[in-house]
Subunit: 356 residues, 2 copies
């Protein structure tokens, strides 16, 4: 049988509890659809620092490389915030992206109807908002040379932002491909009036655009995009941008939906391999209380089924189950209007698998 190997990196804070619910969904999928999964757990992030002295131990990396997909909970917490760079959870995150060649981060910013009220935007502005940010993930200023030096005006720090045409081409093509499956609109975000890397980026987009005559392309400057996301969020379909701009804009886009606790993300490389994780963080303040919301992680499994395994039936089953449970009024504390009626993490997970 075709057994899919999933590396599970639960991570820190609420990571383990939300991942546990996602694993129940994997098991339920086996029962319902006959698919087979083999999961293996690896240490990653703060817990790996504590137990192995590094946020990304070699055995965890090997585990991921041998897997068909990775499910990640969340990493980080105040305990490790003041560590030296090599002993910080986010260094593991950057390391795993680079080591696994995950050059593309895909973040759907969807408005859940039942959570519309949670947005700080007016409902009429949010109406119809359904966009995806495609962020380049292994290039740019994140991975360019960094150093200090002595200059005429005291110590200087330097970061280098580098992009080559190959890197830009692959992410831009992927964004065009995604736009083609949706409303066929691509907004390419850059700062071409200032940056050389942005001018290269824009040239590549313009060169590739004729291969996708069915997709409408607009170039948006990053500062303007930060504004337009607020003014006309529903007019965006797919946004593609470089690493640093994508970091900022994908968080802005996620927050404006009001659904940030429910959003999933995929980080993809060449081929079908992918790493899936909720957009929210490790929420150390509520970890271990059994009150965290597992939905974003459960929906990350649905995204894995769709994008890596091609199990559209199981993906749809999960998404419909989540919708059904929410429509029936069940809420974890973070999304409950009446907090006294909130249910816990495992209760939410149980309801979802029952509805699948």
């Amino acid at each position: 049988a075709d057994v899919k190997k999933i590396a599970v990196l639960a991570g820190d804070g609420i990571g383990p509890e939300v991942v546990a619910e996602a694993e129940k969904v994997l098991k339920k999928t086996e029962e319902l659809f006959g698919y087979q999964f083999e999961t293996a757990h690896g240490l990653f992030g703060g817990i790996a620092i504590d137990e192995k002295g590094t946020p990304l131990p070699q055995e965890t990396l090997d585990l991921c490389k041998n897997a068909d997909a990775v499910l990640l909970g969340a990493v980080g917490g105040p305990k490790w915030d003041n560590n030296a760079k090599e002993l910080r959870p986010e260094t593991g995150l950057l390391g795993i992206r680079k080591a696994l060649g995950l050059f593309s981060n895909i973040r759907p910013a969807t408005v859940f109807d039942c959570l519309k009220e949670a947005s700080t935007l007016k409902p009429e502005v949010l109406e119809g908002t359904d966009l995806i940010v495609v962020r380049e993930l292994t290039g740019g200023i994140y991975f360019g040379e960094k150093f200090r030096r002595e200059g005429a005006n005291g110590q200087e720090a330097v970061d280098t932002c580098v992009y080559n045409v190959t890197e830009v081409e692959r992410i831009v093509r992927q964004a065009f491909d995604i736009a083609r499956t949706r409303r066929k609109k691509l907004a390419s975000v850059d700062k071409a009036n200032v940056l050389e890397t942005s001018r290269l980026w824009r040239e590549v987009v313009n060169r590739i655009a004729p291969e996708y005559p069915d997709v409408e392309v607009e170039h948006v400057l990053v500062d303007n995009c930060a504004m337009q996301l607020l003014r006309r969020p529903s007019s965006f379909d797919v946004i593609v941008t470089e690493n640093m701009f994508g970091d900022i804009l994908s968080d802005e886009a996620a927050m404006l939906t009001g659904s940030i606790g429910m959003l999933s993300s995929a980080s993809l490389g060449e081929g079908s391999f992918g790493l899936y994780e909720p957009v929210h963080g490790s929420a150390p303040d509520i970890a271990g209380q059994g009150i965290s919301n597992p939905i974003a992680t459960v929906l990350s499994v649905a995204l894995m089924f769709r994008l890596t395994f091609g199990y559209e039936d199981a993906a749809a089953s999960i998404e419909n189950a989540v919708k059904e449970v929410l429509d029936a009024g069940h809420r974890t504390g973070d999304i409950a209007v009446d907090k006294s009626k909130a249910i816990g993490t495992t209760a939410m997970g149980d309801l979802i698998i029952a509805a699948m």
Copy 2:
């Protein structure tokens, strides 16, 4: 008598019409308060490209250097968008900042009560929002080395982000000084978990903070700041950040107030010299129709009076006049609910000087 010299760069699009109203305010101030201004006009931006072959002619720069302050309208338009870099209006903008040593851009994001409805944010979220973004303006990735080179994977583009301690210190001190005159809260925005320049930035903030024990400092990562501006805008007082992050966040902050057409800005260097301009752009689509809103430019004059000349009485007179005119229900088309009752640019200017 102490005659203040003001270099007036009207620029492109609606620039000349809104600047004309601001000049009426200068004249009215002379009558009312006995101050004296000497204005001299210079070509800048697209019009300078057309007439002099460069966006920032030497004589314009000399004019500014001989002045006590600069009043700028707006630059740019589709006509020049596809020009080579040296023949683009924004190249003039970057050039004038560097040449005049304007290392600090100050943008108050204020909510005008009468415009609250224009924001896409819910009024209860916006309530109490009154923040200032202090953006470093002559360093970072804007002015670092930029080039192309051939690499193993095709052509590469490179941008360099550089900051030295001196540059960071002066902008951070200025932000602390401003915070001290306000609600005494400073949010320093960086990406210290990724960038070396951000780590330098954060070190400098932490080193200077003890000199301002009355100011509460928080470090906010740029991606998180893009979210928190949406979630809790009223909790911010002064935000200080580097050039590129400031470009993005100041536009996001301006847009969320709903008052973007009304916002003024100051770019300051050492001493009292400053360049003042509205936050809005050149709006080529409505230029020449006499319908643009001069308020942001008029308020930029008030900012000039306060920050460069120390004419607090005249600054307050302008600000109160604007408030009075708006409270009386007068609106230009951009801010009118009932567009049929909108008044024109000169009518708005006349009402403001009458109310001073």
